[in-house]
């Protein structure tokens, strides 16, 4: 037998060689093939994956995103703005507060636009460089990363974890598992608490928690979301990406031959095989791949990237980091596994040509659409009038004659002051000779509040014609002439 390769990533340099060469069987290779005419289960029994810890540029990048996204997620509910929580989706009051912006159910349009923007951003990123979202920022990746870090700190390296899982229950194993599950539980609880803190003011929630007066539904949702975090990040992990994520199934349609994906350079790597350190591949008739399988061990979804692009690959680039370290030890150039494109591998393009092909019709189209929608949203938000008026005709009475030979129509009026200050509004009516408002025309409305009034409108019986006459109302803020709404309505003459 030829000498086994002795390369190991730096962080595992202290582990004896004997442990490093014991590989886990690959999850996707099954030796017992069923007879062809037999219907078989589509699912195989899951084999637990123990990903090996990895360090390197892409791992650092992922940790950067873990810190950024989680600082945002855990921190945002604690920020204050105008004496209230800066970001609060107040479902009970049916108002969304996002810093200076107050959104009402009527503003669902903005929410829809934000969703469209998210979708197009995802399309754009995916077309340019594959599953960037999955590899670096998806909550599933982020929490799995955090939970695996805890696991590694408590149970040790990949080999120590495999050994521990194979051992019968003992005091030591029980202690380690209990410690791990407790810390996972604490993180999951805090995540659930923060989640509910986006819907119920988090300061109130915190006070209620410590005084043991948390409402039943709030308690329920804290634990429900916490349990999901715990299960997804602690136990289900890659299964969520493989079987539960809809995006994983259709992300492939955004790919084209110029999309940057994690690629194993088959031409350079094959034929793979073990060899002594520093041996030139050409001198032994082999490629650069030393078949150490470290790229498989670090893979969180348990695939072998050398088999080519697979939907299971979440684009985390752990195998790139791992392989680069092996190449360094062997004294070979880095990049046997690297971000590259289908075209680049086929045509032997360099970095410059790869980058040159990023700008292409598909990317330009996504970018242009995204730009237009973002600009439209920005313009709409900047010119948004913090006032909404609803005028609905009273269904009980169409029209009635009143004193002085006038005809009266009754409307139900709703004025929503969506600004964060108390405001006075003046209402006027026009569009018909002699039309006037018989009820109050001045309203003072609290910040982010709706006023509902009955509105009686009168016009001389000889004004307009029989049937429907178009009229209009104008509601204008006293302190700011630019804050006004022009609303059309119909006056009925009997």
């Amino acid at each position: 037998m030829t000498e086994q390769v002795t390369t190991k990533p730096a962080d595992l340099a202290s582990v004896p060689d004997a442990q490093v060469v014991k590989f886990m069987p690959r999850a996707e290779k099954s030796s017992d093939k069923p007879a062809e005419d037999e219907e078989v289960s589509l699912y195989e029994v899951r084999k637990k994956i123990h990903p090996r810890a990895v360090t390197g540029m892409f791992a650092n990048m992922r940790w950067t995103f873990v810190f950024l996204t989680q600082a945002l997620y855990y921190g945002l509910p604690w920020l204050q703005w105008n004496g209230r929580q800066a970001v609060l989706f107040d479902l009970v009051q049916r108002k969304f507060y996002i810093f200076g912006l107050v959104l009402w159910p009527q503003d669902v349009f903005y929410l829809a636009v934000i969703l469209i923007i998210s979708a197009f951003s995802l399309f754009l990123f995916t077309t340019v460089a594959g599953r960037l979202w999955c590899g670096y920022t998806c909550p599933q990746t982020v929490y799995t990363e955090i939970f695996m870090w805890v696991e590694q700190k408590i149970e040790g390296s990949r080999n120590q974890r495999i050994k521990l899982d194979g051992e019968p229950m003992s005091v030591r194993k029980f202690g380690l598992k209990a410690a791990k599950f407790s810390i996972w539980g604490a993180i999951a609880f805090w995540t659930g608490f923060t989640f509910v803190g986006y819907f119920t003011p988090i300061h109130v929630l915190g006070h209620e928690f410590f005084t043991w007066t948390l409402g039943p539904w709030e308690t329920f949702w804290v634990f429900f979301y916490g349990l999901f975090t715990y299960m997804f990040a602690g136990h289900l992990r890659e299964q969520v990406c493989l079987h539960m994520c809809p995006y994983a199934r259709f992300q492939g349609v955004m790919f084209d031959p110029d999309t940057l994906v994690i690629t194993y350079d088959v031409e350079r790597g094959e034929p793979r095989g073990a060899r002594k350190k520093g041996v030139e591949p050409a001198s032994i008739g082999k490629g650069s791949c030393v078949d150490c399988e470290i790229c498989v061990q670090v893979c969180p979804t348990g695939i072998d990237i050398r088999d080519g692009l697979q939907y299971q690959c979440i684009g985390c680039a752990a195998c790139i980091d791992a392989c680069d370290q092996v190449m360094d030890k062997m004294g070979y150039p880095r990049g046997l596994i690297r971000y590259s494109t289908e075209h680049a591998v086929k045509e032997h393009w360099g970095r410059k040509e790869v980058l040159g092909h990023i700008i292409r019709p598909r990317v330009l189209l996504y970018a242009a659409l995204l730009g237009i929608i973002v600009a439209g949203l920005g313009w709409s938000l900047l010119t948004r009038v913090p006032l909404m008026v609803n005028i609905i005709r009273d269904r009980a009475t169409l029209a009635r004659e009143v004193e002085g030979g006038n005809v009266e129509n009754v409307f139900r009026l709703q004025i929503m002051n969506t600004a964060e200050q108390r405001r006075k509004f003046v209402m006027t009516v026009g569009g018909m000779d002699g039309v006037s408002i018989a009820t109050t025309t001045r309203f003072e409305i609290d910040p982010a509040t709706t006023a509902t009034e009955v509105l009686r409108v009168q016009a001389p019986a000889d004004s307009g014609h029989r049937g429907s006459n178009p009229i209009y109302f104008e509601v204008r803020a006293e302190d700011n002439q630019d804050v006004f709404v022009h609303e059309k309505a119909v006056f009925i003459q009997p």
């Binding site: 037999e38 219907e39 078989v40 289960s41 699912y43 479902l91 049916r94 669902v108």
Partner: protein, 86 residues
């Protein structure tokens, strides 16, 4: 377990979307149940609403799963084993 998940999970996703759309358009305080206003807090109605949606969507997934049974499974064919679904 796989079957259970393939009922619970897609219905969970769709229930979330349905919940969002429904309660954006409808104020729970304006709902009538058997002609009577619902005397529950908004939080309770949102929560119960979500589970109602989940239940309905789950029922749909359940029927899909049930109708997806292969002929062998319906016939309880003795010669073909199904290692996945014991």
């Amino acid at each position: 377990m796989q079957k259970l998940m393939s009922i619970l999970w897609p219905s969970f996703l769709v229930a979330g979307i349905a919940e969002g759309i429904f309660f954006t358009l409808v104020d729970p305080q304006e709902l009538l149940l058997f002609g009577e206003p619902v005397h529950l807090s908004r939080m309770a109605i949102y929560s119960l609403g979500f589970f109602a949606f989940w239940l309905i969507c789950g029922a749909s997934s359940l029927v899909t799963c049930y109708l997806r049974n292969t002929s062998d499974e319906v016939n309880h064919h003795p010669t073909h084993g199904h290692p996945g679904h014991a």
